[in-house]
């Protein structure tokens, strides 16, 4: 077993964290490598209190509580979790249905590193969430899909599951409630696309991680052909606090339609990058300057990607946007997975754009033509521009490509690639033009592309 004994250098806290203003619901004990055991969870963090409470409630009442809390999915799309749960078909007197809960721990979105912290420091909070959610939907098997690189976290989660089983929190007839549940951990093998929920289902079934045509949606036909709900690790880990506090109390955190706290992952050119659990709706510039310490390079912050690499980029005009799902969407981007990537003035946007598009071109599963060909085209054109061989016409070709990809693909990866492409070209067109006319970067300072490799 490779339980990590080495301290990881990530920052998990900030001045005022844990106070009433900034409640600590998800990152309890993060940073302390001994925090993950069942004993610590029960003694220090009110562990399994919510599960015991929930098992005494009617399953529908649990779902109602989650609906009341207003929590929206933390995996990317921001879909209300309670509503998603209520789509699951119920048993009828004639027919008993096998239902599954699937947890999305693929965490592939560049700029996102929050689920990893939950798995490292609070695996029991995730397990407790799985039990409550499975009970609410009456699913007797829960699959946790974790990206293959997290081998040590998978081993840790399996140990935590054993601890919970030994205590009678998993298995048959949990604490005499008559409810049975098994959690099975499934390891991925390195494919960003497996974060997409139907690709994840295919990967879970032992197939290539290719997204499925929807409908049928997973709630009708998901894993192994059965009704399935897929939720992100963070969404499910938020369920125990919701049940413990009560949905109405949780809904008071954040803003009206964007309740609760979420973990922001801040990376790039700030003084204190790391994980910040914050109530939704705080302005971006407040988070960057007051909490994350502002620019780390002494240069002004030029651009921010507010919701993981797929989110369209913000330039200075949008820095005051409140960080919640609706406000970020109204400002032309998406809150996505909570990954906030900060780029300073010296960052060449053509290089940044090329790096991102190369990622999407590499990760496209290749099923649909607009995404497969489009991402490759964009990569090649950007590559040409970056290497001083582009023409001004190329910029128009790039601009004309995105509307031909976005919205015309099977899954959202096509749209995800267009987000950065379109926004960077629109907001920083002068840098692209400079690249074409001067055959070199508009600003120099950070070389983002390696002179070896490229896979």
């Amino acid at each position: 077993m490779a339980i990590r004994t080495k301290h990881d250098p990530q920052s998990y806290t900030f001045a005022g964290f844990g106070s009433e203003k900034y409640p600590n619901l998800m990152l309890r004990g993060a940073g302390d490598l001994n925090n993950w055991t069942l004993d610590v969870y029960e003694q220090k963090h009110e562990g399994y209190v919510a599960m015991k409470q929930a098992l005494k409630m009617e399953p529908v009442a649990v779902t109602e509580e989650v609906k009341t809390s207003g929590i929206r999915g933390r995996g990317g799309a921001g879909f209300p979790a309670g509503l998603k749960w209520s789509f699951m078909p119920k048993d009828t007197p004639e027919r008993k249905i096998t239902r599954y809960l699937v947890i999305n721990g693929d965490e592939g979105e560049p700029g996102t590193f929050k689920d990893r912290a939950i798995l490292e420091y609070n695996p029991h909070q995730l397990i407790e969430g799985c039990i409550i959610a499975s009970y609410a939907m009456q699913a007797n098997t829960c699959y946790v899909y974790i990206r293959g690189e997290f081998l040590w976290l998978i081993e840790k989660l399996e140990l935590a599951i054993e601890q919970a089983r030994a205590k009678g929190y998993l298995g048959k007839n949990i604490l005499g409630s008559g409810f049975d549940l098994d959690i099975i951990v499934h390891r991925g093998a390195g494919a960003y696309i497996c974060g997409e929920e139907t690709a994840l289902l295919n990967s879970l079934e032992g197939r290539r991680g290719e997204p499925r045509v929807k409908p049928p949606f997973p709630a009708a036909k998901g894993a192994f052909g059965q009704p399935t709900t897929i939720n992100n690790v963070e969404t499910i880990a938020a369920v125990p606090p919701i049940i413990r506090m009560g949905g109405a109390e949780y809904a008071k955190l954040g803003t009206t339609k964007n309740s609760g706290t979420r973990i922001f992952c801040i990376s790039g050119h700030v003084k204190r990058p790391g994980l910040y659990e914050l109530p939704l709706g705080l302005p971006l510039d407040f988070i960057l300057n007051e909490l994350a310490g502002g620019s780390s390079t002494g240069k002004k912050i030029k651009a921010v990607i507010p919701g993981g690499a797929s989110a369209p980029v913000f330039s200075e005009a949008e820095f005051s946007t409140p960080m919640d799902f609706d406000s970020v969407r109204n400002a032309g981007s998406m809150a996505g997975s909570g990954g906030v990537i900060v780029l300073d003035e010296d960052t060449c946007m053509v290089q940044a754009c090329l790096r991102l598009i190369r990622f999407y071109a590499h990760e496209s599963c290749g099923q649909c033509t607009p995404c497969r060909e489009g991402c490759n085209w964009m990569e090649m054109i950007l590559h040409r521009i970056e290497h001083g061989e582009g023409t001004l016409e190329d910029l128009d070709v790039l601009a004309s490509l995105t509307p031909r990809i976005a919205g015309r693909t099977l899954c959202a990866l096509g749209d995800a690639a267009c987000g950065p492409m379109e926004s960077m070209l629109k907001k920083f067109r002068h840098e692209f033009e400079h690249h074409v006319t001067h055959k070199t970067c508009y600003v120099k300072g950070h070389e983002l592309l390696a002179k070896v490799g490229a896979h």
Partner: protein, 191 residues
């Protein structure tokens, strides 16, 4: 800045007449077969054990060789073509031998902002191999450029085999890590 077109991908199709490298092992050990059977029994459909079985195969065979894929197909009684299709889809199944310490460097955006590209160059220099080239002459190292490893806040980051992430890796830290590998402080690949 010398190539106008993106370099060839490491997953380029085989040239005519070219063959996948062979592994020394041809069959699963008895324990591995048991392990696979136990995993398959956990799922409603044994096909679901394809990914876990390939992970086990990679551990046993050292890399995901054609023989490893065939062994998986046999162990689960599923078509070889299916296993090959799956193995070729996922990047973590190494279709070529790798070094005892497989150094994976993230060069995605957040890491790149803090020097991921330069780290990859240094890693290649120290290890004396290029990404995708297979093990170094002494068999110790191989290098891979990987996408986001979910350590973006503390980049640039480096993963050694599948156990240890190292974060904020600068030149000094890189030396430390490579020394620690040589002293055998990290689990070897596939051990």
């Amino acid at each position: 800045m010398n190539h106008p077109m993106p370099p060839e991908t490491s997953e380029a199709p085989l040239a005519p007449g070219q063959r996948l490298p062979r592994s020394e092992r041809k069959e699963f050990s008895a324990e591995a077969l048991q392990e696979i059977a136990a995993i398959a029994a956990k799922y409603p459909d044994k096909l679901a054990a394809t990914l876990p079985a390939l992970h086990i195969a990679q551990r046993e065979f050292g890399f995901t060789s054609l023989d490893a894929m065939k062994a998986v197909a046999k162990a689960l009684s599923i078509p070889e073509g299916h296993v090959f299709g799956v193995a070729s889809f996922y990047t973590m199944y190494q279709k070529q031998p790798v070094g005892k310490y497989h150094l994976q460097v993230c060069t995605n955006i957040s890491c790149a902002l803090s020097g991921g590209a330069q780290l990859l160059e240094k890693v290649c220099q120290r290890a004396g191999v290029q990404p995708g080239e297979g093990p170094s002459k002494d068999g110790l190292w191989s290098v891979e450029e990987v996408e986001c490893l979910a350590a973006c806040g503390s980049g640039p980051c480096l993963q050694v085999n599948h156990d240890i992430y190292d974060e904020y890796v600068d030149e000094r830290k890189l030396d430390e890590i490579m020394q620690a590998c040589k002293r055998g402080e990290y689990r070897e690949w596939a051990k």
